[in-house]
């Protein structure tokens, strides 16, 4: 068994309006930072997991597809780092 550190990034799909992102974009302008064309909020989940190397991708796919993200509204991507 090996140890892995996995970072999962979850984003709202481009077709889903992100009103919280819009609010932060507006606040960014108020801070005086001009030129922001788009700002969208996502989530990042860090997982430390013990697994066989051949199983790790399947396990992370299962977690992302069935729990971490709702693929009706969200896309996900991840990086796997062997410790």
């Amino acid at each position: 068994m090996d140890q892995f550190e996995v970072k999962v990034f979850i984003r709202l799909r481009p077709s889903v309006l992100d009103p919280a992102g819009e609010a932060i974009k507006s606040a960014s302008n108020k801070l005086g930072v001009a030129g922001i064309k788009s700002l969208r909020i996502g989530k990042m989940i860090e997982v430390k997991i013990e697994s066989n190397e051949e199983d790790i991708k399947d396990k992370i796919e299962l977690l992302c597809d069935r729990l971490f993200a709702n693929t009706v509204i969200e896309d996900y991507e991840y990086s796997i780092n062997k410790l």
């Binding site: 709202l12 009103p19 609010a23 729990l67 009706v72 509204i73």
Partner: protein, 221 residues
């Protein structure tokens, strides 16, 4: 034969379970039973309500964690058998997260938690969840949600429309829902999910009785 019993599912964070019980028992004289979410035995109940609230604190996404409870696992066979399931607010979110109903509920367009009485059009007669009084039936029910914006892709919307699965539409869209959708049913009609709260509209003294019919229809076989 035991009297008809409506099961009301209680998750950690449910907060409309007792309201539903009050409406069913007190206003309609229908027997209820609270079902802790870790129970998987649904043999004692004839229909089920997933009440509103904040199951698991809305962690990750509303309804995302409730979906993995033993009770929701048992709900698949319950639904297949044709028995009726009503998901109100957080219950609707759980039904979409669990795949019983298509689409998802996301943050309101204006980011506000909206608490208001709202006018609705009844769209479908599927499942007999709403009294058909005339061609364009209007009802008024309370809403109370921060994440009630129904979202689905165009293919799903077409399927909902073509198969007459849209149950309720807002007359004036409060939250940015796709196609003004406030509630939908499954194809069989025995599962209804809606953001408005029928249990809060069951007595004239609290502002209306338009929710009575929907709750009473839980005992329709």
């Amino acid at each position: 034969m035991a009297s008809f019993t409506v099961g009301i599912v209680v998750f950690p964070g449910s907060n409309c379970d007792r309201d539903v019980s009050w409406a069913l028992e007190g206003c309609l004289d229908i027997k209820t039973k609270f079902l802790w979410h870790e129970s998987s035995d649904l043999n004692d109940v004839d229909s089920i309500v997933l009440p509103g609230g904040f199951s698991y604190g809305d962690y990750l996404r509303c309804g995302a964690i409730a979906r993995f409870s033993p009770l929701i696992n048992s709900l698949h066979d319950f639904v297949k058998s044709g028995k009726r399931v009503l998901g109100i607010c957080n219950g609707f979110q759980i039904l979409t997260e669990s795949g019983f109903l298509p689409g998802a509920l996301v943050a309101n367009k204006n980011l506000n938690f909206i608490c208001d009485d709202i006018d609705l059009n009844v769209i479908t007669s599927k499942g007999g969840w709403f009294q058909k009084l005339n061609e364009t039936q209007n009802i008024k029910l309370p809403i109370a949600h921060g994440e009630g914006r129904y979202h689905c892709d165009q293919d799903t919307l077409k399927k909902l429309t073509d198969n007459d699965l849209i149950a309720l539409k807002y007359k004036t869209n409060p939250n940015g829902s796709t196609s003004d959708i406030a509630g939908i049913t499954n194809e069989k009609g025995n599962v209804l999910g809606l953001m408005p709260h029928p249990e809060r509209a069951c007595d004239e003294s609290i502002g209306g009785i338009d929710g009575l019919y929907t709750l009473r229809s839980l005992i329709t076989q």
